[in-house]
C-alpha cells in the first residue's frame, strides 16, 4: 500500500455519489457498518435509503436484520443484533 501523505485529499475529493458506488461493492452490511463508523460523511452516505435499497438488491435481502431507517432518530441499523 503506497504511503499517503497527511494532507492527501484523495478520499475527501471523491463526491458522495462515487463514495456510494464504492460502498455498493462491499460484500455485506458488516463491512458497510464499519465503514460508516469511519466518519460522519461516510455514515451519512452509507445510510442513504436509496443506497441501502440498491445494496440489498445487489447482495440479497438482509438476513434477520437490516437497516432500519424509519423515524427519528435516524439509525443506520436496527438495534437488535443477529440471532447467534
Amino acid at each position: 500500500m503506497p504511503k499517503v501523505g497527511a494532507a492527501s485529499p484523495a478520499v475527501a475529493s471523491v463526491g458522495d455519489d462515487l463514495l456510494g458506488d464504492i460502498f455498493l461493492r462491499l460484500p455485506d452490511t458488516a463491512v458497510l457498518a464499519r465503514a460508516a463508523l469511519a466518519c460522519k460523511r461516510w455514515r451519512r452516505v452509507a445510510s442513504d435509503p436509496a443506497l441501502l435499497r440498491r445494496f440489498h438488491s445487489l447482495h440479497g435481502p438482509p438476513p434477520l436484520l437490516g437497516f432500519v431507517m424509519s423515524g427519528p432518530p435516524p439509525r443506520l441499523f436496527s438495534v437488535e443484533g443477529p440471532d447467534r
Binding site: 484523495a10 458506488d21 457498518a33 464499519r34 445487489l58 441499523f77
Partner: protein, 186 residues
C-alpha cells in the same frame, strides 16, 4: 510539405485524413496529449462516444479539463489494454443493467492494472472513469477501493484512507453499541 498546393485543397485533404483516423487525441488539464483508439474510446466511454458521434472531437487534442495527465494516461492505457478483450455487446448489456445486476468481477489483468496504482492515482482514476462515463473502469476501480475496506476495523479504515475521525467519543460508543454485531470477527 508541397509548396504550391492550394490552401483549400490542402485543408480538404487534411480533413479527409483526420476523418479516417482511427485514433482520437485527448488533452489533459495540464496540457498533455494522449492518443487512444477511437473504437475503444467509443466503446468504453459513453462521454467520448457521444463526442465522437457528435463531431466535437478536436483533432489537435480534445480538452478534458477535469482530468490530470496521470489519470488520463491511465484511462488511455486501460482503453488500449481493453481494446480487444471484451465484446461490445457484453459491455452494453452490463451498463444497461448497472443499477440492479451484481457487479462483474474484475478480470486478472484489470486487477493488476489497478493494483499497481498509488492511492492517489486510484482515486483520480475513479473520478476520471466517472466523468467519462466508463462503467467498466468505474466497476474495476470501485471494486479495488472497496477491497481496501474489507476485514478492517473503523480505525484501520481511517488509517488506510487518511480520514479524520469527526465523531466524539460518546457518539462513537453509542453507534458502536448499536452496531455491535458488525464487529464480530469475519
Amino acid at each position: 510539405m508541397e509548396v504550391d498546393k492550394g490552401k483549400g485543397e490542402a485543408e480538404e485533404t487534411r480533413k479527409v485524413a483526420e476523418a479516417d483516423r482511427d485514433t482520437v487525441t485527448l488533452k489533459s488539464s495540464d496540457g498533455k496529449l494522449f492518443e487512444v483508439s477511437k473504437e475503444a474510446a467509443a466503446r468504453l466511454s459513453t462521454v467520448l462516444a457521444g463526442m465522437i458521434a457528435g463531431g466535437s472531437i478536436d483533432d489537435n487534442g480534445t480538452d478534458l479539463k477535469q482530468i490530470g495527465s496521470e489519470a488520463l494516461e491511465n484511462v488511455v492505457d486501460y482503453c488500449n489494454k481493453h481494446a480487444n478483450s471484451i465484446p461490445s455487446a457484453a459491455l452494453i448489456s452490463s451498463s444497461i443493467s448497472f443499477n440492479t445486476a451484481p457487479f462483474k468481477e474484475p478480470e486478472e489483468w484489470e486487477r493488476k492494472f489497478v493494483d499497481r496504482l498509488s492511492h492517489d492515482a486510484l482515486f483520480d482514476l475513479v473520478e476520471a472513469a466517472n466523468f467519462l462515463g466508463m462503467e467498466r473502469l468505474l466497476d474495476v476501480t470501485c471494486h479495488k477501493i472497496s477491497e481496501m475496506m474489507k476485514g478492517k476495523s473503523p480505525d484501520q479504515i481511517r488509517e488506510v484512507f487518511n480520514i479524520k475521525n469527526d465523531y466524539t467519543k460518546e457518539e462513537l460508543e453509542e453507534i458502536r453499541q448499536e452496531l455491535a454485531w458488525a464487529f464480530y470477527d469475519d
